[in-house]
Protein backbone atom coordinates (compact mmCIF):
# COMPACT_ATOMS: atom_id res chain seq x y z
CA UNK A 1 0.00 0.00 0.00
CA UNK A 2 1.60 3.22 -1.08
CA UNK A 3 -1.06 5.70 -0.10
CA UNK A 4 -1.43 5.86 3.62
CA UNK A 5 -4.55 7.80 4.43
CA UNK A 6 -6.86 5.81 2.19
CA UNK A 7 -9.84 3.94 3.53
CA UNK A 8 -9.66 0.37 2.34
CA UNK A 9 -12.37 -2.21 2.80
CA UNK A 10 -11.31 -5.80 2.22
CA UNK A 11 -13.84 -8.65 1.74
CA UNK A 12 -16.24 -6.94 4.12
CA UNK A 13 -19.34 -8.87 5.17
CA UNK A 14 -21.78 -7.53 7.70
CA UNK A 15 -25.08 -8.59 9.17
CA UNK A 16 -26.83 -7.41 12.33
CA UNK A 17 -26.41 -9.66 15.37
CA UNK A 18 -28.77 -12.62 15.46
CA UNK A 19 -29.76 -12.14 11.81
CA UNK A 20 -29.29 -14.68 9.05
CA UNK A 21 -28.95 -12.53 5.97
CA UNK A 22 -25.99 -10.36 5.19
CA UNK A 23 -26.74 -6.69 4.62
CA UNK A 24 -23.30 -6.16 3.13
CA UNK A 25 -21.58 -8.82 1.07
CA UNK A 26 -18.06 -8.99 -0.19
CA UNK A 27 -17.37 -5.27 -0.17
CA UNK A 28 -13.86 -4.59 -1.44
CA UNK A 29 -12.91 -1.10 -2.37
CA UNK A 30 -10.59 1.78 -1.79
CA UNK A 31 -11.49 5.35 -1.00
CA UNK A 32 -8.46 7.38 -2.01
CA UNK A 33 -7.51 10.54 -0.25
CA UNK A 34 -8.26 13.84 -1.94
CA UNK A 35 -11.38 12.84 -3.84
CA UNK A 36 -15.07 13.43 -3.46
CA UNK A 37 -16.82 10.07 -3.52
CA UNK A 38 -20.51 9.60 -4.11
CA UNK A 39 -22.22 6.39 -3.07
CA UNK A 40 -25.48 5.82 -4.92
CA UNK A 41 -27.93 2.97 -5.14
CA UNK A 42 -31.58 2.16 -4.54
CA UNK A 43 -33.18 2.06 -1.08
CA UNK A 44 -31.93 -0.82 1.02
CA UNK A 45 -28.82 -1.37 -1.07
CA UNK A 46 -26.55 -1.07 1.97
CA UNK A 47 -25.19 2.45 1.51
CA UNK A 48 -25.81 3.53 5.08
CA UNK A 49 -24.64 0.17 6.42
CA UNK A 50 -21.33 0.57 4.63
CA UNK A 51 -20.87 4.01 6.12
CA UNK A 52 -21.80 2.74 9.60
CA UNK A 53 -19.17 0.05 9.24
CA UNK A 54 -16.52 2.56 8.23
CA UNK A 55 -17.43 4.75 11.21
CA UNK A 56 -17.21 1.71 13.50
CA UNK A 57 -20.77 1.98 14.76
CA UNK A 58 -20.97 -1.75 14.14
CA UNK A 59 -18.43 -4.51 13.87
CA UNK A 60 -17.77 -6.28 10.57
CA UNK A 61 -18.88 -9.91 10.55
CA UNK A 62 -16.05 -10.84 8.22
CA UNK A 63 -13.32 -8.85 6.51
CA UNK A 64 -11.54 -5.68 7.51
CA UNK A 65 -11.67 -1.93 7.10
CA UNK A 66 -8.40 -0.09 7.28
CA UNK A 67 -7.57 3.58 7.51
CA UNK A 68 -3.94 4.71 7.47
CA UNK A 69 -3.10 1.02 7.06
CA UNK A 70 -4.54 0.32 10.50
CA UNK A 71 -7.57 -1.78 11.21
CA UNK A 72 -10.22 0.66 12.45
CA UNK A 73 -10.94 -1.60 15.41
CA UNK A 74 -7.34 -1.22 16.54
CA UNK A 75 -7.70 2.55 16.72
CA UNK A 76 -8.93 4.30 19.85
CA UNK A 77 -12.34 5.80 19.31
CA UNK A 78 -11.17 9.25 20.25
CA UNK A 79 -8.33 8.95 17.76
CA UNK A 80 -10.67 7.73 15.03
CA UNK A 81 -12.80 10.82 15.69
CA UNK A 82 -9.84 12.93 14.56
CA UNK A 83 -9.79 11.09 11.22
CA UNK A 84 -13.48 10.61 10.39
CA UNK A 85 -16.39 13.00 10.91
CA UNK A 86 -20.04 12.29 10.17
CA UNK A 87 -22.99 14.34 9.02
CA UNK A 88 -25.85 11.98 9.82
CA UNK A 89 -28.93 11.32 7.73
CA UNK A 90 -31.47 12.30 10.33
CA UNK A 91 -30.16 15.46 11.86
CA UNK A 92 -33.32 16.39 13.73
CA UNK A 93 -32.25 17.17 17.27
CA UNK A 94 -34.81 17.48 19.99
CA UNK A 95 -32.59 19.30 22.36
CA UNK A 96 -32.25 22.74 23.88
CA UNK A 97 -28.57 23.01 22.99
CA UNK A 98 -27.80 26.05 20.88
CA UNK A 99 -26.39 25.70 17.40
CA UNK A 100 -23.08 26.95 18.75
CA UNK A 101 -23.07 24.28 21.50
CA UNK A 102 -23.66 21.59 18.89
CA UNK A 103 -20.85 22.75 16.62
CA UNK A 104 -18.53 23.06 19.62
CA UNK A 105 -19.11 19.35 20.30
CA UNK A 106 -17.08 18.77 17.16
CA UNK A 107 -14.07 19.87 19.20
CA UNK A 108 -14.74 17.11 21.72
CA UNK A 109 -11.96 14.75 20.53
CA UNK A 110 -9.41 17.52 21.15
CA UNK A 111 -10.60 18.70 24.56
CA UNK A 112 -9.87 17.49 28.05
CA UNK A 113 -12.77 16.39 30.21
CA UNK A 114 -13.26 19.50 32.29
CA UNK A 115 -11.57 22.13 30.18
CA UNK A 116 -13.43 25.04 28.64
CA UNK A 117 -13.26 25.80 24.95
CA UNK A 118 -9.95 27.39 24.00
CA UNK A 119 -9.70 30.49 21.83
CA UNK A 120 -8.58 28.24 18.99
CA UNK A 121 -11.70 26.09 19.43
CA UNK A 122 -13.88 29.20 19.31
CA UNK A 123 -12.21 30.33 16.12
CA UNK A 124 -12.58 26.96 14.41
CA UNK A 125 -16.25 26.76 15.41
CA UNK A 126 -16.92 30.28 14.17
CA UNK A 127 -15.26 29.59 10.80
CA UNK A 128 -17.08 26.29 10.37
CA UNK A 129 -20.42 27.96 11.03
CA UNK A 130 -19.71 30.74 8.58
CA UNK A 131 -18.65 28.22 5.95
CA UNK A 132 -22.00 26.41 6.11
CA UNK A 133 -23.96 29.64 6.49
CA UNK A 134 -25.39 29.01 9.95
CA UNK A 135 -23.47 31.55 12.05
CA UNK A 136 -26.43 33.93 12.11
CA UNK A 137 -28.46 31.61 14.35
CA UNK A 138 -25.65 30.38 16.53
CA UNK A 139 -27.48 31.23 19.75
CA UNK A 140 -30.77 29.65 18.75
CA UNK A 141 -31.82 26.34 20.25
CA UNK A 142 -31.50 23.59 17.64
CA UNK A 143 -34.99 22.32 18.46
CA UNK A 144 -36.34 25.55 17.00
CA UNK A 145 -34.45 25.30 13.70
CA UNK A 146 -35.83 23.93 10.45
CA UNK A 147 -34.57 20.66 8.98
CA UNK A 148 -32.30 22.43 6.55
CA UNK A 149 -30.90 24.73 9.20
CA UNK A 150 -30.06 21.83 11.51
CA UNK A 151 -28.45 20.09 8.56
CA UNK A 152 -26.09 23.01 8.15
CA UNK A 153 -25.33 23.02 11.89
CA UNK A 154 -24.52 19.31 11.70
CA UNK A 155 -22.26 19.92 8.72
CA UNK A 156 -20.50 22.73 10.59
CA UNK A 157 -19.92 20.35 13.51
CA UNK A 158 -18.31 17.80 11.23
CA UNK A 159 -16.08 20.50 9.76
CA UNK A 160 -15.12 21.72 13.24
CA UNK A 161 -14.02 18.17 14.01
CA UNK A 162 -11.08 18.90 11.70
CA UNK A 163 -10.71 15.45 10.20
CA UNK A 164 -9.07 14.08 7.05
CA UNK A 165 -12.34 12.51 6.02
CA UNK A 166 -15.85 13.87 5.95
CA UNK A 167 -18.65 11.34 5.66
CA UNK A 168 -22.16 12.51 4.78
CA UNK A 169 -25.31 10.42 4.72
CA UNK A 170 -27.73 11.94 2.23
CA UNK A 171 -26.85 15.50 3.14
CA UNK A 172 -29.12 17.05 0.50
CA UNK A 173 -32.26 15.16 1.48
CA UNK A 174 -33.74 17.85 3.72
CA UNK A 175 -32.41 20.87 1.84
CA UNK A 176 -34.14 23.11 -0.65
CA UNK A 177 -32.56 23.50 -4.06
CA UNK A 178 -30.54 26.59 -3.14
CA UNK A 179 -29.00 24.97 -0.10
CA UNK A 180 -28.38 21.73 -1.99
CA UNK A 181 -26.24 23.62 -4.47
CA UNK A 182 -24.56 25.60 -1.69
CA UNK A 183 -23.77 22.47 0.29
CA UNK A 184 -22.28 20.62 -2.66
CA UNK A 185 -20.27 23.70 -3.66
CA UNK A 186 -18.95 24.04 -0.12
CA UNK A 187 -17.92 20.35 -0.19
CA UNK A 188 -15.89 20.98 -3.33
CA UNK A 189 -14.38 24.04 -1.68
CA UNK A 190 -13.45 21.99 1.40
CA UNK A 191 -11.85 19.41 -0.84
CA UNK A 192 -9.83 21.95 -2.80
CA UNK A 193 -8.89 24.42 -0.08
CA UNK A 194 -8.61 22.26 3.03
CA UNK A 195 -7.56 19.06 1.32
CA UNK A 196 -10.47 17.13 2.79
CA UNK A 197 -11.48 13.77 1.41
CA UNK A 198 -15.21 13.25 1.27
CA UNK A 199 -17.57 10.30 1.03
CA UNK A 200 -21.22 11.15 0.60
CA UNK A 201 -24.28 9.02 0.12
CA UNK A 202 -26.56 10.61 -2.45
CA UNK A 203 -30.04 9.87 -3.68
CA UNK A 204 -29.92 12.30 -6.53
CA UNK A 205 -27.96 10.78 -9.41
CA UNK A 206 -27.57 14.13 -11.11
CA UNK A 207 -26.05 15.79 -8.06
CA UNK A 208 -23.60 12.88 -7.98
CA UNK A 209 -22.92 13.29 -11.70
CA UNK A 210 -22.28 16.98 -11.36
CA UNK A 211 -20.18 17.20 -8.21
CA UNK A 212 -18.52 13.87 -7.38
CA UNK A 213 -15.13 12.79 -8.72
CA UNK A 214 -15.72 9.12 -8.23
CA UNK A 215 -18.83 7.04 -7.86
CA UNK A 216 -19.62 3.81 -6.04
CA UNK A 217 -22.86 2.13 -7.10
CA UNK A 218 -24.41 -0.36 -4.71
CA UNK A 219 -27.20 -2.87 -5.09
CA UNK A 220 -28.45 -5.54 -2.72
CA UNK A 221 -25.51 -5.22 -0.35
CA UNK A 222 -22.82 -5.38 -2.98
CA UNK A 223 -20.75 -2.86 -4.85
CA UNK A 224 -21.85 -3.15 -8.47
CA UNK A 225 -19.22 -0.83 -9.88
CA UNK A 226 -16.87 1.86 -8.72
CA UNK A 227 -14.53 4.30 -10.40
CA UNK A 228 -14.37 7.64 -12.21
CA UNK A 229 -17.83 9.11 -12.66
CA UNK A 230 -17.74 9.05 -16.47
CA UNK A 231 -16.94 5.35 -16.46
CA UNK A 232 -19.42 4.36 -13.81
CA UNK A 233 -22.41 6.61 -14.40
CA UNK A 234 -23.75 5.16 -17.63
CA UNK A 235 -27.35 4.54 -18.55
CA UNK A 236 -26.62 0.82 -18.80
CA UNK A 237 -25.32 0.68 -15.21
CA UNK A 238 -28.19 2.79 -13.91
CA UNK A 239 -30.78 0.68 -15.64
CA UNK A 240 -29.23 -2.45 -14.19
CA UNK A 241 -29.32 -1.02 -10.68
CA UNK A 242 -32.59 0.89 -10.60
CA UNK A 243 -34.52 -1.22 -13.10
CA UNK A 244 -35.77 1.72 -15.16
CA UNK A 245 -34.37 3.16 -18.38
CA UNK A 246 -32.56 6.51 -18.42
CA UNK A 247 -31.93 9.00 -21.14
CA UNK A 248 -28.63 10.90 -21.08
CA UNK A 249 -28.37 14.54 -22.05
CA UNK A 250 -25.57 17.05 -21.59
CA UNK A 251 -26.01 19.46 -18.72
CA UNK A 252 -25.47 22.76 -20.56
CA UNK A 253 -24.17 24.54 -17.43
CA UNK A 254 -21.69 22.09 -15.96
CA UNK A 255 -21.12 20.12 -19.15
CA UNK A 256 -21.59 16.86 -17.24
CA UNK A 257 -23.98 14.08 -18.06
CA UNK A 258 -27.56 14.51 -16.97
CA UNK A 259 -29.76 11.47 -16.47
CA UNK A 260 -33.45 11.57 -17.12
CA UNK A 261 -35.39 8.62 -15.78
CA UNK A 262 -37.96 7.51 -18.36
CA UNK A 263 -41.13 5.54 -18.45
CA UNK A 264 -40.79 2.23 -20.22
CA UNK A 265 -43.11 3.29 -23.07
CA UNK A 266 -41.17 6.40 -23.86
CA UNK A 267 -37.97 4.39 -24.17
CA UNK A 268 -39.63 2.04 -26.62
CA UNK A 269 -40.95 4.87 -28.72
CA UNK A 270 -37.46 6.18 -29.07
CA UNK A 271 -35.97 2.98 -30.41
Amino acid sequence: MMENTNIITQDLFWRPERKEDYILENITGTFEKGYLYGIIGPNGSGKTSLVRNILRFVEATKGTIKIDNQNIHAIKRKHLAKKLALVPQNTRMNSSFTAHDIVMMGRNPYQKRFSDASREDEEIVCNAMKLTDCYQYKDKSVSLLSGGEVQRVATARAIAQDTDWLILDEPTASLDIKHQVELMTSLIKLKKEKGKSIITILHDINIAAEYCDRIVIMKEGRIVCQGEREDVLTKENLKMVYGIPFKVIKNPVSNTNYFLPCKEEYQEDNK
Partner: protein, 347 residues
Protein backbone atom coordinates in the same frame (compact mmCIF):
# COMPACT_ATOMS: atom_id res chain seq x y z
CA UNK B 1 -19.35 32.72 32.92
CA UNK B 2 -20.05 35.08 35.77
CA UNK B 3 -23.78 34.63 35.52
CA UNK B 4 -23.32 30.87 35.61
CA UNK B 5 -21.41 31.08 38.87
CA UNK B 6 -24.09 33.33 40.32
CA UNK B 7 -26.71 30.61 40.02
CA UNK B 8 -24.52 28.05 41.76
CA UNK B 9 -23.65 30.42 44.60
CA UNK B 10 -27.31 31.37 44.92
CA UNK B 11 -28.34 27.72 45.14
CA UNK B 12 -25.68 26.95 47.77
CA UNK B 13 -26.88 29.88 49.87
CA UNK B 14 -30.47 28.75 49.45
CA UNK B 15 -29.46 25.26 50.59
CA UNK B 16 -27.75 26.63 53.71
CA UNK B 17 -30.84 28.74 54.48
CA UNK B 18 -33.15 25.78 54.10
CA UNK B 19 -30.95 23.68 56.41
CA UNK B 20 -31.09 26.45 58.98
CA UNK B 21 -34.82 26.92 58.52
CA UNK B 22 -35.42 23.21 58.93
CA UNK B 23 -33.25 23.12 62.05
CA UNK B 24 -35.18 25.86 63.83
CA UNK B 25 -38.64 24.58 63.00
CA UNK B 26 -40.04 21.85 65.14
CA UNK B 27 -42.57 20.87 67.73
CA UNK B 28 -40.40 21.41 70.75
CA UNK B 29 -40.52 24.79 72.50
CA UNK B 30 -37.08 25.82 71.45
CA UNK B 31 -36.25 29.38 70.52
CA UNK B 32 -34.84 30.11 67.12
CA UNK B 33 -31.79 31.89 68.54
CA UNK B 34 -30.88 28.90 70.66
CA UNK B 35 -31.12 26.53 67.70
CA UNK B 36 -28.86 28.72 65.64
CA UNK B 37 -26.39 28.93 68.51
CA UNK B 38 -26.28 25.15 68.84
CA UNK B 39 -25.55 24.69 65.17
CA UNK B 40 -22.93 27.43 65.07
CA UNK B 41 -21.20 25.93 68.09
CA UNK B 42 -20.40 22.83 66.05
CA UNK B 43 -18.70 24.72 63.25
CA UNK B 44 -14.94 24.32 63.75
CA UNK B 45 -13.66 27.90 63.81
CA UNK B 46 -16.71 29.57 65.35
CA UNK B 47 -17.40 26.88 67.91
CA UNK B 48 -15.34 28.06 70.88
CA UNK B 49 -16.91 31.54 70.78
CA UNK B 50 -20.47 30.35 71.24
CA UNK B 51 -21.80 30.15 74.76
CA UNK B 52 -24.22 27.26 75.27
CA UNK B 53 -24.20 27.34 79.08
CA UNK B 54 -27.78 28.55 79.45
CA UNK B 55 -29.32 26.10 76.97
CA UNK B 56 -30.64 22.83 78.34
CA UNK B 57 -28.71 19.78 77.19
CA UNK B 58 -31.87 18.06 75.95
CA UNK B 59 -32.32 20.93 73.53
CA UNK B 60 -28.78 20.52 72.29
CA UNK B 61 -29.58 16.87 71.74
CA UNK B 62 -32.77 17.65 69.87
CA UNK B 63 -31.09 20.01 67.48
CA UNK B 64 -27.78 18.27 66.97
CA UNK B 65 -28.55 14.57 67.32
CA UNK B 66 -32.13 14.42 66.07
CA UNK B 67 -32.84 17.29 63.70
CA UNK B 68 -29.44 17.77 62.05
CA UNK B 69 -28.83 14.18 60.87
CA UNK B 70 -32.39 14.08 59.62
CA UNK B 71 -31.98 17.29 57.64
CA UNK B 72 -28.66 16.22 56.17
CA UNK B 73 -30.09 12.84 55.26
CA UNK B 74 -33.03 14.48 53.53
CA UNK B 75 -30.61 16.73 51.65
CA UNK B 76 -28.34 13.90 50.58
CA UNK B 77 -31.21 11.68 49.47
CA UNK B 78 -32.87 14.52 47.56
CA UNK B 79 -29.59 15.50 45.95
CA UNK B 80 -28.65 11.92 45.10
CA UNK B 81 -32.00 11.11 43.52
CA UNK B 82 -31.97 14.29 41.44
CA UNK B 83 -28.42 13.74 40.20
CA UNK B 84 -29.37 10.22 39.15
CA UNK B 85 -32.57 11.50 37.54
CA UNK B 86 -30.59 13.97 35.44
CA UNK B 87 -28.01 11.35 34.49
CA UNK B 88 -30.65 8.75 33.59
CA UNK B 89 -32.62 11.22 31.49
CA UNK B 90 -29.32 11.82 29.72
CA UNK B 91 -28.18 8.28 29.04
CA UNK B 92 -31.62 6.88 28.28
CA UNK B 93 -32.48 9.91 26.16
CA UNK B 94 -35.90 9.74 27.72
CA UNK B 95 -37.55 12.61 29.58
CA UNK B 96 -39.57 10.15 31.68
CA UNK B 97 -36.54 8.38 33.09
CA UNK B 98 -36.28 8.62 36.86
CA UNK B 99 -34.01 6.97 39.45
CA UNK B 100 -36.42 4.09 40.01
CA UNK B 101 -36.60 3.09 36.36
CA UNK B 102 -34.25 0.12 36.53
CA UNK B 103 -36.18 -1.52 39.33
CA UNK B 104 -33.76 -0.44 42.07
CA UNK B 105 -36.52 0.72 44.36
CA UNK B 106 -38.79 -2.27 43.99
CA UNK B 107 -35.76 -4.43 44.70
CA UNK B 108 -35.08 -2.41 47.83
CA UNK B 109 -38.71 -2.65 48.89
CA UNK B 110 -38.70 -6.43 48.54
CA UNK B 111 -35.51 -6.69 50.59
CA UNK B 112 -36.93 -4.43 53.26
CA UNK B 113 -40.17 -6.42 53.36
CA UNK B 114 -38.33 -9.70 53.78
CA UNK B 115 -36.14 -8.20 56.52
CA UNK B 116 -39.16 -6.84 58.39
CA UNK B 117 -40.92 -10.19 58.22
CA UNK B 118 -38.02 -12.30 59.34
CA UNK B 119 -37.13 -9.66 61.92
CA UNK B 120 -33.43 -10.49 62.03
CA UNK B 121 -31.53 -8.09 64.26
CA UNK B 122 -28.22 -7.01 62.83
CA UNK B 123 -26.49 -3.69 62.66
CA UNK B 124 -23.87 -2.56 60.19
CA UNK B 125 -22.81 1.10 59.94
CA UNK B 126 -25.97 1.92 61.85
CA UNK B 127 -27.97 0.70 58.90
CA UNK B 128 -29.95 -2.07 60.50
CA UNK B 129 -31.16 -5.24 58.87
CA UNK B 130 -33.86 -3.55 56.81
CA UNK B 131 -31.37 -1.13 55.31
CA UNK B 132 -28.77 -3.79 54.56
CA UNK B 133 -31.33 -6.08 52.94
CA UNK B 134 -32.75 -3.20 50.93
CA UNK B 135 -29.31 -2.11 49.76
CA UNK B 136 -28.28 -5.62 48.72
CA UNK B 137 -31.50 -6.55 46.93
CA UNK B 138 -31.69 -3.25 45.08
CA UNK B 139 -28.22 -3.76 43.63
CA UNK B 140 -29.03 -7.37 42.83
CA UNK B 141 -32.13 -6.21 40.96
CA UNK B 142 -30.16 -3.80 38.78
CA UNK B 143 -27.64 -6.49 37.96
CA UNK B 144 -30.47 -8.84 36.92
CA UNK B 145 -32.23 -6.16 34.87
CA UNK B 146 -28.99 -5.21 33.18
CA UNK B 147 -28.02 -8.81 32.42
CA UNK B 148 -31.40 -9.71 31.01
CA UNK B 149 -31.73 -6.51 28.97
CA UNK B 150 -28.33 -7.05 27.40
CA UNK B 151 -28.90 -10.61 26.21
CA UNK B 152 -28.19 -10.76 22.51
CA UNK B 153 -27.60 -7.07 21.89
CA UNK B 154 -24.93 -4.69 22.90
CA UNK B 155 -26.84 -2.31 25.09
CA UNK B 156 -30.35 -1.34 24.20
CA UNK B 157 -31.68 1.38 26.43
CA UNK B 158 -35.28 0.82 25.41
CA UNK B 159 -34.84 -2.80 26.41
CA UNK B 160 -33.40 -1.74 29.76
CA UNK B 161 -36.28 0.57 30.56
CA UNK B 162 -38.85 -2.07 29.62
CA UNK B 163 -37.04 -4.82 31.52
CA UNK B 164 -36.72 -2.53 34.54
CA UNK B 165 -40.43 -1.74 34.45
CA UNK B 166 -41.35 -5.40 34.11
CA UNK B 167 -39.08 -6.27 37.03
CA UNK B 168 -40.61 -3.55 39.17
CA UNK B 169 -44.08 -4.93 38.54
CA UNK B 170 -42.98 -8.47 39.29
CA UNK B 171 -41.27 -7.46 42.54
CA UNK B 172 -44.27 -5.37 43.64
CA UNK B 173 -46.45 -8.39 43.05
CA UNK B 174 -44.08 -10.48 45.17
CA UNK B 175 -44.30 -7.91 47.98
CA UNK B 176 -48.10 -8.00 47.78
CA UNK B 177 -47.99 -11.78 47.90
CA UNK B 178 -45.77 -11.79 50.98
CA UNK B 179 -47.97 -9.21 52.68
CA UNK B 180 -51.17 -11.07 51.93
CA UNK B 181 -49.67 -14.07 53.68
CA UNK B 182 -48.47 -12.03 56.67
CA UNK B 183 -51.03 -9.32 57.36
CA UNK B 184 -49.34 -8.16 60.54
CA UNK B 185 -46.55 -6.43 58.62
CA UNK B 186 -48.70 -4.45 56.22
CA UNK B 187 -48.56 -1.14 58.07
CA UNK B 188 -44.83 -1.28 58.69
CA UNK B 189 -43.98 -2.16 55.10
CA UNK B 190 -46.42 0.35 53.69
CA UNK B 191 -44.94 3.18 55.71
CA UNK B 192 -41.42 2.15 54.73
CA UNK B 193 -42.32 2.17 51.05
CA UNK B 194 -43.80 5.66 51.34
CA UNK B 195 -40.45 6.92 52.55
CA UNK B 196 -39.42 8.63 55.74
CA UNK B 197 -36.37 10.14 57.41
CA UNK B 198 -37.59 9.54 60.94
CA UNK B 199 -34.92 6.90 61.57
CA UNK B 200 -32.06 9.29 60.87
CA UNK B 201 -28.68 9.01 62.52
CA UNK B 202 -25.19 10.42 62.03
CA UNK B 203 -24.01 6.96 60.96
CA UNK B 204 -26.50 6.95 58.11
CA UNK B 205 -25.43 10.45 57.11
CA UNK B 206 -21.83 9.28 56.79
CA UNK B 207 -22.91 6.21 54.83
CA UNK B 208 -25.01 8.33 52.46
CA UNK B 209 -22.34 10.98 52.10
CA UNK B 210 -19.90 8.36 50.87
CA UNK B 211 -22.18 7.08 48.12
CA UNK B 212 -23.96 10.25 47.09
CA UNK B 213 -20.99 12.60 46.97
CA UNK B 214 -18.57 10.14 45.40
CA UNK B 215 -21.16 8.89 42.96
CA UNK B 216 -22.00 12.42 41.92
CA UNK B 217 -18.36 13.27 41.29
CA UNK B 218 -17.98 10.11 39.18
CA UNK B 219 -21.09 10.98 37.15
CA UNK B 220 -19.89 14.55 36.67
CA UNK B 221 -16.77 13.10 35.08
CA UNK B 222 -18.92 12.12 32.10
CA UNK B 223 -20.85 15.36 31.72
CA UNK B 224 -19.41 16.24 28.31
CA UNK B 225 -20.09 12.73 27.07
CA UNK B 226 -23.70 13.07 28.24
CA UNK B 227 -24.00 16.31 26.28
CA UNK B 228 -22.92 14.55 23.09
CA UNK B 229 -25.17 11.55 23.78
CA UNK B 230 -28.12 13.96 23.90
CA UNK B 231 -27.65 14.46 20.16
CA UNK B 232 -27.68 10.71 19.47
CA UNK B 233 -25.65 7.65 20.45
CA UNK B 234 -24.06 7.22 17.04
CA UNK B 235 -23.32 10.91 16.79
CA UNK B 236 -21.56 10.72 20.15
CA UNK B 237 -19.54 7.74 18.95
CA UNK B 238 -18.43 9.60 15.86
CA UNK B 239 -17.20 12.31 18.25
CA UNK B 240 -14.93 9.77 19.89
CA UNK B 241 -17.07 8.72 22.84
CA UNK B 242 -17.46 5.09 23.82
CA UNK B 243 -21.16 5.36 24.56
CA UNK B 244 -21.52 1.77 25.71
CA UNK B 245 -18.83 2.23 28.35
CA UNK B 246 -20.23 5.60 29.45
CA UNK B 247 -23.73 4.18 29.82
CA UNK B 248 -22.48 1.17 31.75
CA UNK B 249 -20.43 3.22 34.19
CA UNK B 250 -23.19 5.74 34.78
CA UNK B 251 -25.64 2.92 35.47
CA UNK B 252 -23.18 1.51 38.03
CA UNK B 253 -22.60 4.80 39.87
CA UNK B 254 -26.24 5.83 39.68
CA UNK B 255 -27.41 2.48 41.01
CA UNK B 256 -25.06 2.74 43.98
CA UNK B 257 -26.43 6.20 44.78
CA UNK B 258 -30.06 5.14 44.48
CA UNK B 259 -29.50 1.95 46.44
CA UNK B 260 -27.90 3.93 49.27
CA UNK B 261 -30.74 6.46 49.22
CA UNK B 262 -33.64 4.03 49.25
CA UNK B 263 -32.03 1.75 51.82
CA UNK B 264 -32.02 4.55 54.42
CA UNK B 265 -35.20 6.38 53.50
CA UNK B 266 -37.57 4.18 51.58
CA UNK B 267 -38.95 5.13 48.20
CA UNK B 268 -39.25 8.85 47.72
CA UNK B 269 -40.84 9.46 44.39
CA UNK B 270 -41.01 12.34 41.98
CA UNK B 271 -37.87 14.16 43.13
CA UNK B 272 -35.65 12.52 40.54
CA UNK B 273 -38.11 13.32 37.76
CA UNK B 274 -39.25 16.84 38.58
CA UNK B 275 -36.08 18.47 39.87
CA UNK B 276 -33.82 17.85 36.84
CA UNK B 277 -36.54 19.10 34.48
CA UNK B 278 -37.10 22.24 36.52
CA UNK B 279 -33.39 22.88 36.88
CA UNK B 280 -32.84 22.41 33.16
CA UNK B 281 -34.98 25.49 32.56
CA UNK B 282 -32.50 27.65 34.50
CA UNK B 283 -29.24 25.83 33.86
CA UNK B 284 -29.64 24.99 30.20
CA UNK B 285 -28.90 21.55 28.80
CA UNK B 286 -25.18 21.38 29.61
CA UNK B 287 -24.70 18.49 32.01
CA UNK B 288 -21.75 19.85 33.89
CA UNK B 289 -24.08 22.56 35.17
CA UNK B 290 -27.32 20.62 35.11
CA UNK B 291 -26.05 17.75 37.28
CA UNK B 292 -24.60 19.70 40.23
CA UNK B 293 -27.48 22.18 40.17
CA UNK B 294 -29.99 19.31 40.16
CA UNK B 295 -28.20 17.92 43.20
CA UNK B 296 -28.54 21.22 45.04
CA UNK B 297 -32.15 21.70 43.92
CA UNK B 298 -33.12 18.19 44.98
CA UNK B 299 -31.52 18.68 48.38
CA UNK B 300 -33.41 21.93 48.97
CA UNK B 301 -36.71 20.44 47.80
CA UNK B 302 -36.53 17.34 49.99
CA UNK B 303 -35.33 19.25 53.08
CA UNK B 304 -38.30 21.56 52.65
CA UNK B 305 -40.69 18.64 52.08
CA UNK B 306 -39.40 16.79 55.13
CA UNK B 307 -39.78 19.89 57.30
CA UNK B 308 -43.43 19.98 56.25
CA UNK B 309 -43.74 16.23 56.77
CA UNK B 310 -42.72 16.41 60.41
CA UNK B 311 -44.45 19.68 61.33
CA UNK B 312 -47.79 19.83 59.49
CA UNK B 313 -49.62 17.38 61.69
CA UNK B 314 -47.21 17.36 64.68
CA UNK B 315 -46.75 15.44 66.87
CA UNK B 316 -47.44 12.72 64.28
CA UNK B 317 -45.85 12.69 60.83
CA UNK B 318 -46.86 12.57 57.17
CA UNK B 319 -44.68 10.27 55.03
CA UNK B 320 -42.27 12.50 53.15
CA UNK B 321 -42.93 10.66 49.87
CA UNK B 322 -46.52 11.89 50.08
CA UNK B 323 -45.37 15.49 50.41
CA UNK B 324 -42.88 15.31 47.55
CA UNK B 325 -45.51 13.87 45.23
CA UNK B 326 -48.23 16.24 46.42
CA UNK B 327 -46.00 19.28 45.95
CA UNK B 328 -44.15 17.95 42.94
CA UNK B 329 -46.97 16.80 40.68
CA UNK B 330 -48.97 20.02 40.38
CA UNK B 331 -45.79 22.05 40.10
CA UNK B 332 -44.58 19.75 37.36
CA UNK B 333 -47.86 19.98 35.47
CA UNK B 334 -47.76 23.79 35.61
CA UNK B 335 -44.18 23.69 34.37
CA UNK B 336 -45.16 21.40 31.51
CA UNK B 337 -47.97 23.68 30.46
CA UNK B 338 -45.75 26.73 30.52
CA UNK B 339 -42.86 25.32 28.55
CA UNK B 340 -44.01 22.45 26.40
CA UNK B 341 -41.24 22.82 23.90
CA UNK B 342 -38.32 22.92 26.25
CA UNK B 343 -39.37 20.02 28.43
CA UNK B 344 -39.82 17.79 25.43
CA UNK B 345 -36.06 17.50 25.16
CA UNK B 346 -34.54 14.51 26.81
CA UNK B 347 -31.19 16.17 27.15
Amino acid sequence: MKKKLDIIIGMVLLLLCSILFAAVTGSSTLSMMDSIKIILSRIPVLGPYIDLSNIRSTYIQIVWDIRMPRILMAGLVGGGLSVVGAAFQGIFKNPLADPHILGVSSGAALGATVAMMTGVGLNLFGLGMVGIFAFATSLLTVVCVYRIACIGNRLSTVNMILTGTAFSMMLSALISLLLSLHHENIEKVYLWILGSFSAASWNKVVFLCLFVLMGTVCILFFSKDLDAIATGYEMAESLGIDTVLVRKLIIVFASLIVAACVSVSGIIGFVGLVIPHSIRLISGPQNRRLIPLSGLGGAIFVIFSDTLARNLVAPSEIPVGVITALLGSPYFIILLQRSKRKLGSGS
